[in-house]
Protein backbone atom coordinates (compact mmCIF):
# COMPACT_ATOMS: atom_id res chain seq x y z
CA UNK A 1 0.00 0.00 0.00
CA UNK A 2 1.52 3.33 -0.98
CA UNK A 3 1.47 6.83 0.37
CA UNK A 4 -2.19 7.36 -0.55
CA UNK A 5 -3.49 4.06 0.86
CA UNK A 6 -5.89 2.32 -1.51
CA UNK A 7 -6.27 5.41 -3.68
CA UNK A 8 -4.18 5.07 -6.84
CA UNK A 9 -2.30 7.95 -8.40
CA UNK A 10 -4.38 7.66 -11.57
CA UNK A 11 -7.63 8.05 -9.63
CA UNK A 12 -6.23 11.13 -7.86
CA UNK A 13 -5.28 12.63 -11.21
CA UNK A 14 -8.71 11.77 -12.57
CA UNK A 15 -10.34 13.58 -9.65
CA UNK A 16 -8.26 16.66 -10.32
CA UNK A 17 -8.39 16.77 -14.09
CA UNK A 18 -11.50 14.90 -15.12
CA UNK A 19 -14.85 13.39 -14.23
CA UNK A 20 -15.51 9.96 -12.77
CA UNK A 21 -19.27 9.78 -13.15
CA UNK A 22 -21.32 11.21 -16.01
CA UNK A 23 -24.80 10.92 -17.44
CA UNK A 24 -24.62 10.13 -21.14
CA UNK A 25 -27.59 10.28 -23.50
CA UNK A 26 -27.73 8.13 -26.62
CA UNK A 27 -29.42 10.33 -29.21
CA UNK A 28 -30.24 10.26 -32.90
CA UNK A 29 -33.02 9.98 -35.45
CA UNK A 30 -35.22 6.85 -35.47
CA UNK A 31 -33.76 3.58 -36.78
CA UNK A 32 -30.07 4.48 -36.62
CA UNK A 33 -29.35 1.78 -34.04
CA UNK A 34 -29.44 3.64 -30.71
CA UNK A 35 -30.87 0.75 -28.72
CA UNK A 36 -28.66 -1.77 -30.52
CA UNK A 37 -25.68 0.31 -29.43
CA UNK A 38 -27.01 0.68 -25.88
CA UNK A 39 -27.48 -3.10 -25.76
CA UNK A 40 -23.92 -3.60 -27.05
CA UNK A 41 -22.46 -1.32 -24.38
CA UNK A 42 -24.46 -2.89 -21.58
CA UNK A 43 -23.80 -6.45 -22.75
CA UNK A 44 -20.07 -5.75 -22.89
CA UNK A 45 -19.84 -4.03 -19.49
CA UNK A 46 -22.72 -5.30 -17.37
CA UNK A 47 -24.00 -8.43 -19.13
CA UNK A 48 -27.45 -6.82 -19.33
CA UNK A 49 -29.45 -5.27 -22.18
CA UNK A 50 -31.35 -1.98 -22.49
CA UNK A 51 -34.39 -2.84 -24.59
CA UNK A 52 -35.93 -4.48 -27.64
CA UNK A 53 -34.94 -3.53 -31.17
CA UNK A 54 -37.01 -3.57 -34.33
CA UNK A 55 -36.85 -2.61 -37.99
CA UNK A 56 -40.02 -0.58 -37.47
CA UNK A 57 -39.12 3.00 -36.61
CA UNK A 58 -39.87 4.38 -33.12
CA UNK A 59 -39.47 1.02 -31.35
CA UNK A 60 -38.11 2.90 -28.31
CA UNK A 61 -40.87 5.27 -27.26
CA UNK A 62 -39.87 5.89 -23.66
CA UNK A 63 -36.39 6.77 -22.45
CA UNK A 64 -34.65 3.91 -20.68
CA UNK A 65 -31.60 4.19 -18.51
CA UNK A 66 -29.04 2.09 -16.77
CA UNK A 67 -27.06 3.48 -13.87
CA UNK A 68 -23.44 2.92 -12.92
CA UNK A 69 -22.05 1.37 -16.08
CA UNK A 70 -18.30 1.33 -15.52
CA UNK A 71 -16.26 1.45 -18.71
CA UNK A 72 -12.54 0.83 -18.37
CA UNK A 73 -9.72 2.01 -20.58
CA UNK A 74 -6.33 0.79 -19.39
CA UNK A 75 -5.67 2.49 -16.05
CA UNK A 76 -8.53 4.92 -16.29
CA UNK A 77 -12.25 4.32 -16.14
CA UNK A 78 -15.48 6.22 -16.29
CA UNK A 79 -18.77 5.33 -14.65
CA UNK A 80 -21.76 6.33 -16.72
CA UNK A 81 -25.49 6.49 -16.32
CA UNK A 82 -26.57 5.66 -19.84
CA UNK A 83 -29.89 6.96 -21.18
CA UNK A 84 -31.30 5.40 -24.34
CA UNK A 85 -33.63 8.01 -25.79
CA UNK A 86 -36.48 7.67 -28.33
CA UNK A 87 -35.57 8.74 -31.87
CA UNK A 88 -36.05 12.42 -32.62
CA UNK A 89 -38.10 13.30 -35.67
CA UNK A 90 -39.87 16.36 -37.03
CA UNK A 91 -42.79 14.32 -38.35
CA UNK A 92 -44.65 11.14 -37.48
CA UNK A 93 -47.19 9.73 -39.91
CA UNK A 94 -49.17 6.76 -38.62
CA UNK A 95 -49.92 5.74 -42.22
CA UNK A 96 -46.25 4.90 -42.69
CA UNK A 97 -46.57 2.25 -39.98
CA UNK A 98 -49.57 0.80 -41.80
CA UNK A 99 -48.37 1.01 -45.39
CA UNK A 100 -44.69 0.18 -44.91
CA UNK A 101 -44.74 -2.03 -41.85
CA UNK A 102 -48.16 -3.68 -42.01
CA UNK A 103 -49.48 -2.49 -38.65
CA UNK A 104 -53.22 -2.27 -38.18
CA UNK A 105 -54.76 1.21 -38.10
CA UNK A 106 -55.20 1.07 -34.33
CA UNK A 107 -51.67 -0.21 -33.72
CA UNK A 108 -50.25 2.41 -36.07
CA UNK A 109 -52.14 5.25 -34.42
CA UNK A 110 -51.10 4.11 -30.95
CA UNK A 111 -47.47 3.79 -32.01
CA UNK A 112 -47.53 7.23 -33.63
CA UNK A 113 -49.06 8.81 -30.52
CA UNK A 114 -46.48 7.19 -28.25
CA UNK A 115 -43.71 8.19 -30.66
CA UNK A 116 -44.68 11.87 -30.43
CA UNK A 117 -44.49 11.62 -26.63
CA UNK A 118 -41.12 9.91 -26.97
CA UNK A 119 -39.68 12.77 -29.05
CA UNK A 120 -40.81 15.27 -26.40
CA UNK A 121 -39.21 13.14 -23.68
CA UNK A 122 -35.91 12.95 -25.61
CA UNK A 123 -35.77 16.73 -25.95
CA UNK A 124 -36.52 17.16 -22.23
CA UNK A 125 -33.65 14.83 -21.34
CA UNK A 126 -31.19 17.20 -23.05
CA UNK A 127 -31.46 19.42 -19.95
CA UNK A 128 -30.10 16.83 -17.57
CA UNK A 129 -27.23 15.10 -19.29
CA UNK A 130 -23.47 15.62 -19.29
CA UNK A 131 -22.68 14.37 -22.78
CA UNK A 132 -24.18 12.76 -25.86
CA UNK A 133 -23.38 9.74 -27.91
CA UNK A 134 -24.98 10.82 -31.18
CA UNK A 135 -25.72 7.81 -33.34
CA UNK A 136 -25.83 8.30 -37.08
CA UNK A 137 -26.49 5.78 -39.83
CA UNK A 138 -23.34 5.74 -41.96
CA UNK A 139 -25.31 4.46 -44.96
CA UNK A 140 -27.47 7.62 -44.98
CA UNK A 141 -27.04 11.30 -45.77
CA UNK A 142 -25.69 12.85 -42.55
CA UNK A 143 -27.04 16.38 -43.16
CA UNK A 144 -30.49 15.70 -41.81
CA UNK A 145 -32.23 18.46 -39.91
CA UNK A 146 -32.47 16.25 -36.83
CA UNK A 147 -28.69 15.75 -36.78
CA UNK A 148 -28.10 19.47 -37.37
CA UNK A 149 -30.60 20.41 -34.62
CA UNK A 150 -29.20 17.98 -32.06
CA UNK A 151 -25.62 19.03 -32.75
CA UNK A 152 -26.54 22.73 -32.62
CA UNK A 153 -28.23 22.21 -29.25
CA UNK A 154 -25.26 20.37 -27.81
CA UNK A 155 -22.86 23.03 -29.06
CA UNK A 156 -25.06 25.79 -27.59
CA UNK A 157 -25.04 23.96 -24.26
CA UNK A 158 -21.32 23.23 -24.55
CA UNK A 159 -21.97 19.52 -24.01
CA UNK A 160 -19.42 17.04 -25.29
CA UNK A 161 -20.64 14.95 -28.21
CA UNK A 162 -19.21 11.81 -29.71
CA UNK A 163 -20.60 10.67 -33.04
CA UNK A 164 -21.01 6.92 -33.49
CA UNK A 165 -21.03 6.27 -37.24
CA UNK A 166 -23.11 3.11 -37.02
CA UNK A 167 -23.88 0.29 -39.46
CA UNK A 168 -20.37 0.04 -40.93
CA UNK A 169 -21.07 -3.67 -41.44
CA UNK A 170 -23.31 -2.64 -44.34
CA UNK A 171 -21.85 -2.56 -47.84
CA UNK A 172 -22.90 0.99 -48.68
CA UNK A 173 -21.72 2.56 -45.45
CA UNK A 174 -19.49 5.62 -45.60
CA UNK A 175 -18.20 6.70 -42.19
CA UNK A 176 -15.72 9.00 -43.97
CA UNK A 177 -18.67 11.11 -45.17
CA UNK A 178 -19.70 11.64 -41.55
CA UNK A 179 -16.17 12.54 -40.55
CA UNK A 180 -15.93 15.17 -43.26
CA UNK A 181 -19.45 16.47 -42.49
CA UNK A 182 -18.76 17.06 -38.80
CA UNK A 183 -15.01 17.66 -38.46
CA UNK A 184 -15.48 19.54 -35.18
CA UNK A 185 -16.52 16.37 -33.31
CA UNK A 186 -14.88 12.98 -32.82
CA UNK A 187 -16.44 10.35 -35.09
CA UNK A 188 -16.00 6.64 -34.36
CA UNK A 189 -17.09 4.15 -37.02
CA UNK A 190 -18.82 1.16 -35.45
CA UNK A 191 -21.14 -1.73 -36.03
CA UNK A 192 -23.34 -1.93 -32.95
CA UNK A 193 -24.81 -5.12 -34.39
CA UNK A 194 -21.55 -7.07 -34.74
CA UNK A 195 -19.49 -5.18 -32.15
CA UNK A 196 -16.87 -4.25 -34.74
CA UNK A 197 -14.68 -1.37 -33.46
CA UNK A 198 -16.53 -1.24 -30.12
CA UNK A 199 -13.20 -1.16 -28.24
CA UNK A 200 -12.25 2.04 -30.05
CA UNK A 201 -15.62 3.55 -29.14
CA UNK A 202 -15.13 2.71 -25.44
CA UNK A 203 -11.63 4.20 -25.40
CA UNK A 204 -12.91 7.40 -27.00
CA UNK A 205 -15.92 7.56 -24.64
CA UNK A 206 -13.71 7.36 -21.54
CA UNK A 207 -11.30 9.99 -22.88
CA UNK A 208 -13.91 12.36 -24.29
CA UNK A 209 -16.64 12.20 -21.66
CA UNK A 210 -14.15 12.04 -18.80
CA UNK A 211 -12.82 15.52 -19.60
CA UNK A 212 -14.12 18.44 -17.63
CA UNK A 213 -16.60 20.55 -19.60
CA UNK A 214 -18.32 23.64 -18.34
CA UNK A 215 -22.02 23.25 -19.10
CA UNK A 216 -23.86 26.36 -20.24
CA UNK A 217 -27.16 26.98 -18.50
CA UNK A 218 -30.15 27.75 -20.76
Amino acid sequence: MGLFGKVSLSSILQRIFGKKHVKIGIYGPPNVGKTTLANRILRDWTGDIMGSVSEIPHETRRAKWKKDVKIENGNSSLTMDIVDTPGISTKIDFKEFMNTWGLTRDEAKRRAKEATEGVIESIKWLEGIDGVLLVMDSTQDPFTQVNVTILGNLEARNLPVLIAANKIDMENSSPATLKSAFPQHPVVPISALTGYNAENLYTTMVKHFGKKHKKKRR
Binding site: S89, I92, K95, A112, T116, V119, F143, Q145, T149, G152
Partner: protein, 125 residues
Protein backbone atom coordinates in the same frame (compact mmCIF):
# COMPACT_ATOMS: atom_id res chain seq x y z
CA UNK B 1 -53.33 24.11 -48.08
CA UNK B 2 -56.99 24.56 -48.76
CA UNK B 3 -58.49 22.84 -51.77
CA UNK B 4 -60.38 25.88 -52.97
CA UNK B 5 -57.37 28.05 -53.75
CA UNK B 6 -55.66 25.36 -55.92
CA UNK B 7 -52.20 26.48 -55.00
CA UNK B 8 -49.53 26.22 -52.43
CA UNK B 9 -48.47 29.33 -50.55
CA UNK B 10 -44.77 29.92 -50.43
CA UNK B 11 -43.95 32.79 -48.10
CA UNK B 12 -40.64 34.51 -47.54
CA UNK B 13 -40.53 35.85 -44.00
CA UNK B 14 -38.18 38.75 -43.54
CA UNK B 15 -35.48 38.96 -40.94
CA UNK B 16 -37.13 42.16 -39.64
CA UNK B 17 -40.44 40.42 -38.99
CA UNK B 18 -38.70 37.53 -37.21
CA UNK B 19 -36.59 39.84 -35.09
CA UNK B 20 -39.70 41.61 -33.84
CA UNK B 21 -41.01 38.38 -32.35
CA UNK B 22 -39.95 36.61 -29.17
CA UNK B 23 -38.92 32.97 -29.53
CA UNK B 24 -42.31 31.84 -28.32
CA UNK B 25 -44.16 34.15 -30.70
CA UNK B 26 -41.94 33.04 -33.57
CA UNK B 27 -42.71 29.37 -32.98
CA UNK B 28 -46.45 30.07 -32.63
CA UNK B 29 -46.41 32.04 -35.88
CA UNK B 30 -44.49 29.34 -37.77
CA UNK B 31 -46.66 26.49 -36.56
CA UNK B 32 -49.86 28.36 -37.28
CA UNK B 33 -48.76 29.10 -40.85
CA UNK B 34 -47.44 25.59 -41.47
CA UNK B 35 -50.58 23.98 -40.06
CA UNK B 36 -52.49 26.10 -42.57
CA UNK B 37 -50.48 24.45 -45.35
CA UNK B 38 -48.02 27.26 -46.00
CA UNK B 39 -44.37 26.78 -46.80
CA UNK B 40 -42.14 29.39 -45.19
CA UNK B 41 -38.68 30.55 -46.07
CA UNK B 42 -37.24 32.30 -43.04
CA UNK B 43 -34.65 34.86 -44.04
CA UNK B 44 -33.16 34.52 -40.59
CA UNK B 45 -33.64 30.97 -39.33
CA UNK B 46 -34.08 29.56 -35.87
CA UNK B 47 -31.42 28.99 -33.25
CA UNK B 48 -30.79 25.32 -32.38
CA UNK B 49 -32.66 25.76 -29.11
CA UNK B 50 -35.63 27.25 -30.99
CA UNK B 51 -35.46 24.38 -33.48
CA UNK B 52 -35.66 21.83 -30.66
CA UNK B 53 -38.57 23.78 -29.14
CA UNK B 54 -40.30 23.82 -32.53
CA UNK B 55 -39.92 20.03 -32.80
CA UNK B 56 -41.31 19.63 -29.28
CA UNK B 57 -44.23 21.95 -30.03
CA UNK B 58 -44.88 20.18 -33.35
CA UNK B 59 -45.11 16.83 -31.56
CA UNK B 60 -47.71 18.30 -29.20
CA UNK B 61 -49.79 19.54 -32.13
CA UNK B 62 -49.74 16.50 -34.37
CA UNK B 63 -53.24 15.51 -35.36
CA UNK B 64 -52.99 12.13 -36.97
CA UNK B 65 -55.48 12.70 -39.78
CA UNK B 66 -54.62 16.29 -40.63
CA UNK B 67 -51.17 17.32 -39.44
CA UNK B 68 -48.25 14.88 -39.38
CA UNK B 69 -45.51 17.34 -38.53
CA UNK B 70 -43.06 19.61 -40.27
CA UNK B 71 -40.25 19.35 -42.75
CA UNK B 72 -37.56 21.81 -41.78
CA UNK B 73 -34.29 22.31 -43.58
CA UNK B 74 -31.58 24.81 -42.97
CA UNK B 75 -27.93 25.04 -42.20
CA UNK B 76 -26.22 25.27 -38.86
CA UNK B 77 -25.40 28.64 -37.42
CA UNK B 78 -22.75 30.82 -38.99
CA UNK B 79 -19.32 30.16 -37.61
CA UNK B 80 -18.26 33.18 -35.55
CA UNK B 81 -15.06 34.98 -36.35
CA UNK B 82 -12.28 35.23 -33.80
CA UNK B 83 -13.41 38.74 -32.80
CA UNK B 84 -17.07 37.72 -32.59
CA UNK B 85 -16.05 34.92 -30.23
CA UNK B 86 -13.92 37.32 -28.23
CA UNK B 87 -16.74 39.84 -27.90
CA UNK B 88 -19.31 37.13 -27.16
CA UNK B 89 -21.45 38.05 -30.18
CA UNK B 90 -24.01 35.26 -30.63
CA UNK B 91 -23.93 33.13 -33.73
CA UNK B 92 -26.52 33.91 -36.37
CA UNK B 93 -28.87 31.22 -37.65
CA UNK B 94 -29.09 30.96 -41.40
CA UNK B 95 -31.95 30.82 -43.91
CA UNK B 96 -34.38 27.99 -43.17
CA UNK B 97 -37.20 26.36 -45.07
CA UNK B 98 -40.17 25.04 -43.08
CA UNK B 99 -43.34 23.45 -44.36
CA UNK B 100 -45.94 20.84 -43.60
CA UNK B 101 -44.49 17.32 -43.83
CA UNK B 102 -47.41 16.17 -45.97
CA UNK B 103 -46.35 18.63 -48.70
CA UNK B 104 -42.65 19.25 -48.44
CA UNK B 105 -40.02 16.57 -48.86
CA UNK B 106 -36.29 16.97 -48.55
CA UNK B 107 -34.49 15.33 -51.46
CA UNK B 108 -30.86 16.10 -50.83
CA UNK B 109 -28.85 18.34 -48.62
CA UNK B 110 -25.17 19.06 -48.53
CA UNK B 111 -22.94 21.94 -47.53
CA UNK B 112 -23.93 23.97 -50.59
CA UNK B 113 -27.49 23.14 -51.51
CA UNK B 114 -30.77 21.97 -50.05
CA UNK B 115 -33.02 20.30 -52.60
CA UNK B 116 -36.67 19.85 -51.74
CA UNK B 117 -39.81 18.74 -53.53
CA UNK B 118 -43.39 19.75 -53.02
CA UNK B 119 -45.63 16.73 -53.30
CA UNK B 120 -49.31 17.63 -52.88
CA UNK B 121 -51.39 14.83 -51.44
CA UNK B 122 -48.50 13.16 -49.65
CA UNK B 123 -48.92 12.01 -46.07
CA UNK B 124 -51.94 12.24 -43.85
CA UNK B 125 -54.18 14.46 -45.91
Amino acid sequence: MTKKDHGISFNLVSKNKLEMLTSEEKLKFILKEVKNGKILVLEHGLTPIEQANLIEQTMREIEQDTFIGVEMEGYGEEKPSFFQKLLGIPRKPRMTLIGPANLLKMVKKDNNMIQTKIIPGRGAR
